[in-house]
Amino acid sequence: MNGLVLFSRRIWPQLLTLAVIVGLISVMFPGFFDISIANGRLYGSPIDILNRGAPVALLAIGMTLVIATRGIDLSVGAVMAICGAVSAWGITEGYGLFPTLAMALSAGLACGLWNGVLVALLGIQPIVATLILMVAGRGIAQLITEGAILTFNHEGLIFFGSGSVWAIPTPVIIGVLTGAIVTLIVRRSALGMLIEAIGINLRASTLAGVNTRVLLIAVYMTSGFCAALAGIIAAADIRGADANNAGLWLELDAILAVVVGGTSLLGGRFSLIASLIGALIIQAVNTGILLSGFPPEFNLIIKAVIILIILVLQSPTMRTVLVFFSSDKAAGIDSEKQKETVAP
């Protein structure tokens, strides 16, 4: 029970932020909550947010674990491109659906292994180590697609982008399932604690006998795997692999989702659920801007401003300021209370 209270306290600010943004959108765009079923699939703006947010949410799952170890993975966007290219290539070469998926996922794991080896065995700073693949990855993807946009028409593969199960879009299902499975694995086993221990103090963890190298590599491989899933979805969605644009800048959205989710870039304590909500917040902002009918050239700036507001409200400085102004200063020491005050 106590754990449940702590848990809800942890994701309170993110849920509230999401609610406020959804509320704002629905004020500006009254038809927001209209949901319909057509061709056995749900349609509507909320569904669209979930569906469009799935790739970033997937990336955010892996990114959360990487960031919890005090690392960062800049390569996930490029890994999406590689894995999208592999799946398009596999399917057009006629390898069949499951071998193709296996190849794409293996490519993601291999990319993660590369990053993990650079970070854990060679001791290269994560931001530099993953920058290598971020730059080289799109080149690799172009080699696979031979410089063109590799299109395909395989219904089985397309299902992962625009299909649905029980009226729910496939990307949403993949995102939710991955989130649930990873959360279960990490929290039911001791992985979560060991990952946090590594992020807080790598040397002390090694001295306590934690197998830090293997865990670091595993975490980067998880991130690669999640990026592969996102890459397959992105390719299936447009029925083709675009080496230049698939997953472009999504690594930044994923990092942002983790940060909005309240996991510190300095590593340590993390919450996967909060990161997933963070990804939804970002997608809600994206969709909201489109729906509200602002000229598209304002989109990026409005998004930046909204994110800035969220982060400023979450910042420790702002918290102390708000505590100062809040009426019950004595009770304001409780940091969770402050977060509640902060979020709106």
Binding site: R188, S189, A190, L191, M193, L194, E196, A197, I200, N201, R203, A204, S205, T206, L207, A208, G209, V210, N211, L215, G268, R269
Partner: protein, 509 residues
């Protein structure tokens, strides 16, 4: 030097006190520095050397006491302020900017300008002139990082002297220099001494201190042990001031000679690692406490790290009592062999500050079991509460982040982390450093209890009294070698001090 004999001190600290949460880092320390002298400041880790320096330069706010410069009370607010008063500091790790040129580093913040632009020519000329006083004739236009640490050190000194000019504080300047470079640095120090600067010299190399210093001040546990003229004191007396008991020594015949030759639990032969610790032989019996005595940097921590696989050994082998060979090339292997290790620096190597007391206690056991089989919360909690009670860890509950506990309680959490793994051999590196008196006594009692239960312990301590109290045998380490082994009645602080100090004499026993 002669002219400084009667004159008033250049820099003086009077009754300086500094309290950190949980510990008194400096307790009413007096210190005086004369113009034209090199004054060595000595003490073990945690004795208060750096705290004193930081109080003198204003990097820390002192809680009590005065600082006088030429007889006038000053109150530096920080290192830059201290520079204004004429007090400059050079740290072990040169804190200049490696990618700027030598000249830029020397004049940073005070560049000569011409019409608002930095005049490189004037800057370089000035830098050359300054460095020539130090016997350095180098290309000042090259980046600092292209020169050796020794040269960088001299440049750092030159900068500090140019900016301040009365007092120079050198915090372990020789730690990463070879003997030739040390000589060069000493020449610089001697010439500065002749120019009338007061120089505070911190080092843990006794040879260097006897070579360069005029007076020596020894701190211990935040208290002043004494100040002596270098020519009036010998190595034994000095080590005694640092580690030993100031009072007359009672020769302790202690009843701890092992009840007969117990069975050997672990035998290390020719165990060592190049550059860390010379190969040594060591046999440890069940229920035995082996103490390790030596000065800072003598190889005592290195001994522990080689045994625990932190720095894998490159010679020798380890066997169990039954003759099976042990692989000990990583902490994981050492832990699998039933070892535990509480490192000297709890903050960086020991506790995981943001994790709770419960998680910290469970960590080593969980790491050994593997990540797949998570120790259920209920068991973790029971384990933690058990040790919170047994070791009297002062925490509101097991869910408190361990970083919020005091040093002594963090140390107990570290002990608990290993005790839950039920080790057969526990290595403790300075288990009582920086913790308050009460916790101190409890940890000593705990060491005795564990050993009575049949655990083997290797305890490194700079508190020689402590080693006398609980050790069955004591290894003495000097210059990265095991130089003596004392057992039974031979274990006295006097004998240890003699073995630590003696530069030529080998084993004392």
């Amino acid at each position: 030097m002669p002219q400084s004999e009667a004159s008033q001190p250049l820099l003086r600290a009077r009754g300086v006190r500094k309290v950190f949460p949980g510990t008194v880092a400096l307790d009413g320390v007096d210190f005086s520095l004369r113009a034209g002298e090199v004054h060595a400041l000595l003490g073990e880790n945690g004795a208060g050397k750096s705290t004193l320096i930081k109080c003198l330069t204003g990097a820390y706010r002192r809680d009590d006491g005065d600082i006088l410069l030429n007889g006038e009370i000053i109150d530096p607010k920080g290192t830059i302020d201290a520079q204004g008063y004429g007090i400059g500091t050079v740290y072990q790790e040169v804190n200049l900017l490696p990618n700027l040129t030598v000249a830029e580093n020397l004049s940073l913040g005070h560049q000569p300008t011409r019409f608002g632009m930095i005049s490189t020519r004037a800057m370089n000329a000035r830098a050359r002139e300054v460095l020539s006083q130090y016997g350095l004739d180098i290309d000042v236009g090259r980046s600092l990082s292209s020169y050796s640490v020794a040269v960088q050190q001299v440049i750092a000194i030159a900068r500090a002297v140019t900016l301040s000019g009365k007092v120079l504080i050198l915090d372990e300047p020789t730690a990463s220099l070879d003997s030739h470079e040390v000589e060069m640095l000493f020449d610089v120090i001697r010439s500065l001494k002749q120019r009338g600067l007061g120089i505070v010299f911190i080092s843990h190399f006794l040879d260097q201190i006897f070579t360069i210093s005029d007076r020596i001040t020894v701190l211990r546990n935040g208290r002043l042990v004494g100040t002596e003229a270098t020519r009036d004191i010998d190595r034994v007396a000095l080590v005694n001031m640092m580690l030993g008991r100031e009072l007359e020594q009672e020769v302790r015949s202690h009843g701890k000679t092992h009840a007969g030759p117990g069975e050997a639990r672990l035998a290390f032969t020719g165990f060592g690692r190049k550059g860390r610790i010379e190969p040594f032989d060591l046999t440890i019996q069940a229920g035995e406490v082996v103490g390790v005595a030596g000065l800072l940097g003598s190889g005592r921590t290195e001994t522990a790290e080689v045994l625990f696989g932190v720095a894998a050994h490159d010679s020798g082998e380890a066997r169990r009592g039954d003759g099976t060979v042990l692989r000990l090339t990583s902490p994981r292997e050492a832990i699998a062999a039933g070892f535990g290790f509480c490192p000297e620096d709890r903050k960086t190597d020991g506790v995981i500050a943001d994790l709770t007391v419960r998680e910290n206690i469970a960590l080593a056991l969980q790491a050994r079991i593997g990540w797949m089989r998570r120790i259920p919360d209920r068991e973790q909690k029971a384990m933690a509460n058990d040790y919170i009670r047994k070791l009297d860890i002062r925490t509101p509950d097991a869910e408190k982040p361990v970083g919020l506990l005091s040093g002594g309680n963090q140390q107990k959490v570290m002990l608990a982390r290993w005790l839950v793994t039920n080790p057969s051999f526990l290595i403790l590196d300075e288990p009582t450093r920086g913790i308050d008196v009460g916790a101190h006594a409890e940890i000593i009692r705990l060491i005795e209890e564990l050993c009575a239960q049949g655990m083997s312990l290797l305890v490194i301590s700079s508190e020689l009294d402590e080693l006398v109290a609980y050790s069955h045998r004591v290894l003495v380490v000097r210059d990265r070698r095991h130089v003596a082994e004392l057992s039974g009645g031979e274990i006295t602080t006097d004998n240890m001090v003699r073995a630590i100090a003696a530069p030529e004499k080998e084993a004392v026993a």
